[in-house]
């Protein structure tokens, strides 16, 4: 039987077990849409902007652990998708993006809606392909899914010219396995390195585990919990790692880094042995590298060799999957006698008493921290929470205590405003039985508002928690601290009536201006199981995110809310962003 390229492509997606495709049609992909239309096994989500398609597929992937799939047309279709691809790339999210291309004979002729998709996306994908012949379609799809989902995952783009989707050929069986001489995804950690790590860990008097997104992407949460309990070591998690270990557990010190807790950052600063597990010593974590962990030795576990000794030189590098390396450590440390760390814990308890997330309520205004605390209470800590980028993101990370992996979904690496809403939609599609909340702000939400329409079409009830302070809050905070309160272009003078806006999209809107109305509104919103509810919550416009390590500072330079005066640092420190 002969099939056309579009049919072969859709059949290949089916063979990969794809259940949802987030996309937007256009000239170059019309044949693919025609084939998709005839396929009952794949549900297509028609977004309202291609960026929403990539973020939607991303949220779907992060919530489910499966590979997200996006289909866009050539030219503006793929350029619109680029922000979402870069977002997935920075956070190592498995995604396959299929972009239409102008017909092969027109490539390079400046054809209508032509853009060099492979060239434009090269630096923000794990790999990309331009299909040149119909016979390459199936094998390329196989390779793309293999590359996207194995090793350190990431987005893979397949660019397919229109004429190739029209051409016909005899159908061949979809390849079951794939071998690539230039890509080996299975790395077995060196036993020798693990043995060395065991000795260092057993003798450490002030150890700390520093777990990142690699524990979640690598599905290592179970092993991480076992290892942490077994050793009795304190553990801190990065923004991307929250939920890998339960934040409500006593061994958890909370998040570390620029807006991390006092105990987490001080423990890093005072540690003699830092164990980085699936984390990459990002600048938001380390602050000033010269002041970073002055007395520590580093054990660095990561699947990507290029992360090791990139920012911080590892004393014991272990290249391998977090899950397998942790299991090996558990096996080898089972009957090891560990050094007594009770003094270390006493010191950590002293730091804990500082209560660095305490904040003062003031009458008449709703504190954004209170909103997150109440969201946690109303959802009993069980919701999937997505966020946009800015102050609200940090408050969500600090005050919603995530106990499970894949419960917290945010754009940590790229910091993409507009991510939260489409990601919530994707998460709800992946996990229809879970409550999904999108914590956002009046700046971020306006970047992807159009997806409210998609959410009505596909009935993906999400609760939007808009912390509305009228400002681009994080920008305002930096201007207050570092630019002598010159609030350049960070105030939004004209905001829409978000309640009416939600209603015009067919959703429910509730405005909350008083703290006493907050809890009833949240309860009402989550009782509306079938509807998307937009909670527009007016919050204190002057509130800042604390603790904070100022640019150029180290972990012991933290500033605490109401206790330290924020002072502008030396101008040279402004290199930090």
């Amino acid at each position: 039987m002969k099939l056309n390229g579009a049919q072969i492509l859709v059949n290949s997606l089916k063979s990969e077990g794809v259940s949802h495709v987030f996309g937007y049609p256009g000239g170059a992909v019309l044949h693919i849409y025609d084939a998709l239309n005839a396929c009952e096994d794949i549900k297509h989500i028609l977004v309202r902007h291609e960026q929403g398609a990539t973020h939607g597929a991303d949220g779907y992937a992060r919530a489910s652990g499966k590979c997200g799939v996006t289909l866009v047309t050539s030219g503006p279709g793929i350029t619109n998708a680029v922000t979402g691809i870069a977002t997935a790339h920075m956070d190592s999210i498995p995604m396959v993006i299929i972009s239409g291309q102008v017909p092969s004979p027109l490539i390079g002729m400046d054809a209508f809606q032509e853009v060099d998709a492979v060239g434009i996306t090269r630096s923000c994908v794990k790999h990309n392909f331009l299909i040149k012949d119909i016979s390459e379609i199936a094998i390329t799809v196989k390779k793309a899914f293999h590359i996207a989902t194995t090793g350190r995952p990431g987005p893979v783009l397949i660019d397919i010219p229109k004429d190739i989707t029209i051409a016909k050929m005899e159908v061949e069986e979809y390849p079951k396995t794939i071998e690539m001489r230039s890509y080996k995804s299975t790395i077995k950690a060196s036993d020798h390195q693990i043995k060395k790590a065991v000795v260092m860990l057993a003798n450490s008097k002030r150890p700390i585990l520093y777990a990142g997104g690699g524990c979640i992407i690598g599905n290592a949460s179970k092993e991480l919990r076992e290892f942490t309990h077994m050793t009795g070591f304190p553990i801190t998690q990065t923004l991307m790692g929250l939920g890998a270990y339960p934040m409500t557990d006593n061994q958890s010190l909370g998040m570390l880094g620029m807006h991390g807790t006092y105990e987490a950052n001080m423990a890093m600063h005072g540690s003699d042995c830092v164990v980085a597990i699936g984390s990459r010593f990002d600048d938001r974590i380390t602050g000033n590298l010269e002041k970073f962990c002055p007395t520590a030795k580093f054990i660095h576990i990561d699947i990507d060799p290029s992360q090791i000794s990139k920012n911080v030189v590892a004393d014991i590098p272990i290249v391998g999957q977090t899950k397998q390396v942790l299991q090996a450590l558990i096996d080898q440390m089972k009957d090891k006698k560990l050094a007594d760390i009770s003094n270390w814990w006493s010191q950590i308890e002293e730091w804990r008493k500082v209560d660095s997330l305490a904040y003062k309520k003031s009458p008449g205004v709703i504190k954004p921290q209170t909103v997150i605390e109440m969201l946690y209470e109303v959802t009993k800590g069980k919701a999937i929470v997505t966020s946009d980028v800015g102050q609200h993101q940090m408050w969500a990370a600090q005050y919603y205590l995530f106990d499970e992996p894949r419960q917290w979904i945010n754009s940590g690496g790229l910091g993409t405003m507009g991510f939260g809403l489409p990601a919530a939609m994707g998460a709800k599609l992946a996990m229809p039985d879970r409550d999904v909340a999108c914590v956002t702000g009046d700046g971020s939400i306006q970047m992807m508002l159009q997806e409210l329409s998609t959410m009505l079409q596909y009935s993906t009830p999400v609760k939007i928690i808009n912390l509305n302070n009228g400002y681009l809050g994080m920008v305002r905070q930096w201007q207050e601290f570092f630019y002598e309160k010159r609030y350049a272009m960070s105030y939004m003078e004209a905001l829409p009536d978000f309640v009416k806006l939600a209603e015009s999209y067919g959703h429910m809107g509730i405005r909350v201006e008083k703290e006493e109305d907050l809890k009833p509104a949240l309860i009402e919103a989550f009782n509306q199981k079938e509807r998307t509810v937009f909670l527009d919550i007016v919050t204190d416009p002057s509130e800042n995110v604390f603790p904070m390590i100022p640019a150029g500072g180290g972990h012991s330079d933290m500033l605490l809310a109401g206790r330290d005066e924020m002072v502008s640092k030396d101008e040279t420190d402004f290199n930090a962003v």
């Binding site: 492979v118 060239g119 090269r122 630096s123 794990k126 790999h127 331009l130 590359i147 690539m180 001489r181 230039s182 890509y183 990507d304 060799p305 290029s306 090791i308 000794s309 990139k310 030189v313």
Partner: protein, 158 residues
């Protein structure tokens, strides 16, 4: 320090731009880059000369290795190796200078591959330092044009 990095990669369209893009995106320095097919027509060998401290070179090697099209990366500088570069140069001659130019060509074992009345085109293969020494043996006005291939190299171990 100067390093010669040898890369075996899939002979695919776009593989070169992946490598070049990696260097520009991460701010790595390229002193020279040569690429051509190997005896296996599905593979190319690329030889890159870069300058950086040990940490940077380590990152270059790891980042290259991470590219899906790259099959193998070797830092030749870390092993016993042979490096060569080819120079083609147009050198002007006159009745006054011809004898002197020819003496210098002899001294460096450079070969005349085209002789015209006013100029020789010469070829010289050798380490980059030898090429530099050769060029500095002439006055600037004697050298009309220079074309260098950049360094290529192989590991000496069989």
């Amino acid at each position: 320090m100067r390093h010669i990095i040898s890369v075996i990669l899939e002979n695919e369209a776009g593989a070169l731009s992946r490598v070049a893009g990696l260097f520009s995106a991460r701010g790595f320095n390229i002193e020279s880059l040569t690429v051509a097919a190997t005896t296996d027509s599905t593979l190319s060998r690329m030889t890159i000369v870069s300058v950086g401290d040990d940490g940077i070179i380590e990152q270059i090697v790891k980042q290259l290795d991470k590219l899906i099209d790259v099959v193998k990366v070797v830092d030749l500088t870390a092993t016993e190796h042979i490096e060569r570069e080819l120079l083609l140069a147009k050198i002007s001659i006159s009745s006054d200078t011809q004898a002197d130019v020819e003496a210098k060509l002899d001294q460096f074992n450079a070969k005349i591959i085209d002789a015209a009345e006013e100029a020789y085109i010469v070829e010289l293969a050798g380490k980059s330092q030898k090429i530099k020494d050769f060029l500095s043996a002439f006055n600037a006005e004697q050298i009309i044009e220079v074309s260098r291939t950049g360094v290529t190299g192989v590991c000496q171990k069989i």
